[in-house]
Amino acid sequence: MRMKAKKAANDSKRVRYAVATLVLLLLFTALVILNIGIGSVNISVRDALSAIFKGNPGTIEHDILWKVRLPRMAAGMILGGALALSGFLLQTFFNNPIAGPFVLGISSGAKLTVALVMVFVLSRGSTVNSATMIASAFVGALASMGFVLLIARRVRRVSVLIISGVMIGYICSAITDFVITFASDESIVNLHHWSQGSFSGTSWSDVRIMAAVVLIASVFVFLLSKPIGAYQLGESYAESVGVNIKAFRILLVLLSSILCACVTAFAGPVSFVGVAVPHLIKAFTKTAKPIIVIPLCFLGGAVFCLGCDLIARTIYAPVEMSISSVSSLFGAPVVIYIMARKAGRD
């Protein structure tokens, strides 16, 4: 009798995971199809599919799909997944439900280096190519991550890390404001535009790089499932079962930052995906087990970003809304709702 009850409990858990995965995959497929089909130029789904699979290079449809829509979609998927994973890592690490990828000051660091490039290189009349812009954003992001890591090595308490991250964010913003005083109006406008985030204009070479970075980092995250699971009981217990806390902490910050830096470099800061998606996944699967949550978070992040990007580029076409506005619009209420429910239960 008891055996049956236990088995039923296990089964219902498995059913939940399966349903969650299925729902996400369905949403993913639907959004892929929508993203392929919808755009300024009308392409029927049939034409789109034939352009993809049979290829008809030279036709407008083929070019639009392959050169404009598909790379953009790929970016949305990859970077969305990266953000969700980054958020999951930080929420686990800080045991704080509103922790997100940008809490460690990473986007502020990237914005600073981009501002520096705009003000000191572009205003002088020289030009840079997009690879340089991307590289500078990446460097800025990793630099601020470096500072946080330095602190992480010396400090045991996690609350101090959050504070350092926030402080570094403030410092970078202050320096950016200072740099801006030397900026032309154009730089200010463009910097503002950059900080709104966008997937527009992604090229396949961009996609190749981000895919490599994100996929490698994500695999590492997945391989950390075991220590993350132990970490959920707290640092002391995790250490007692054999987790090397110092190394773990550094790895976690490193991976989370690389994922976030990648997004910031290629698309600018995209807020709330990293905060909201892990909550949604955990709420639906009712588990925090990393082996289940990590892949589903990646998928969920991809779905979320694909949806937001679709809305951002179609709702006021041809004007593009910034992706951050859309993701905040959907992400923030989710977080509020989940927090309220949790508070109600406690």
Binding site: K6, A9, F222, L223, S225, K226, G229, A230, Q232, L233, G234, S236, Y237, E239, S240, V241, G242, V243, N244, K282, K286, T287, A288, K289, I291
Partner: protein, 252 residues
């Protein structure tokens, strides 16, 4: 006589400053050692140091025949398991999931539980009498149940020695006695060595093989309960005014 757990000239403290010095203890396998003493005397510090949660200031700690300095974190996790004072608040974990963390040193790279692991989890829960809590959410259990689950987690780790920091605090008598009985069972039937700190002298007397009294930066006494739980020793240890001992412990 072969000792399983030994400390030699052990000094413990924070930031290089010793709080307790010259700790010398030797216990055999399957024995229970309790630490008693006034608040702030350093009992927790000692416990944290012997499990390498805190760096020792001086001296040696041996578990088995090796010093813990020479033991890697991984090897130590197969030797020693802990039950701490902190009450973890993980989200969305069942009691079974919490106990499963104890299997960490034995599972593969992704931590997937084998059939054997699952059996051991159920075993551990059975020993502590909490099997029915396995699928219940960890955040919904009572204090007594929580403590038992944390103990099951430690048992599940298949340690040679369990270290507990005030395992009976916040527990009423019934649950406290239950915990102690489980520990005694583990020690006697399974040969698990137990080192713990206790506030309640009655419990310490009931269950210990050896008692260590910690006060003013050093070990006052290390002896059997019969010798420790006497008027002179206890009054001295806790600075009790005259007559209090008889009042409190007259009957015990």
């Amino acid at each position: 006589m072969e000792y399983f757990f030994q400390t030699e000239q052990l000094a413990v403290g924070y930031d290089g400053k010793p709080i307790v010095k010259n700790i010398e203890a030797s216990i055999q396998k399957g024995q229970i050692l309790s630490l008693i003493g006034p608040n702030g005397s350093g009992k927790s510090t000692i416990l944290k140091s012997i499990t390498k949660q805190l760096k020792t200031i001086g001296g040696v700690v041996r578990i088995g025949s090796n010093s813990i300095e020479d033991t890697s974190l991984r090897e130590l996790s197969r030797l020693a398991a802990v039950v701490l004072t902190e009450r973890p608040k993980p989200e969305l974990m069942t009691c079974g999931d919490v106990v499963a963390v104890g299997r960490y040193p034995y599972t593969g790279m992704l931590g997937i539980l084998s059939e054997k692991d699952r059996e051991k989890i159920s075993d551990a829960l059975r020993i502590v009498g909490a099997l029915e809590l396995k699928d219940r959410s960890f955040s919904e259990v009572s204090d007594g149940q929580l403590q038992r689950v944390m103990l099951a987690r430690a048992i599940c780790q298949e340690p040679e020695i369990i270290v507990l920091d005030e395992p009976t605090s916040f527990l009423d008598i019934r649950y406290a006695v239950e915990i102690l009985d489980i520990l005694r069972h583990m020690a006697l039937e399974r040969g698990v060595t137990v080192v713990m700190s206790l506030h309640e002298l009655g419990y310490a007397k009931r269950v210990s093989d050896l008692v260590m009294c910690v006060k003013d930066g050093h070990v006052l006494y290390l002896d059997t309960p019969e010798i420790i739980f006497t008027k002179d020793v206890i009054s001295r240890l806790y600075d009790l005014p005259a007559g209090i001992y008889e009042q409190l412990f007259g009957g015990l």
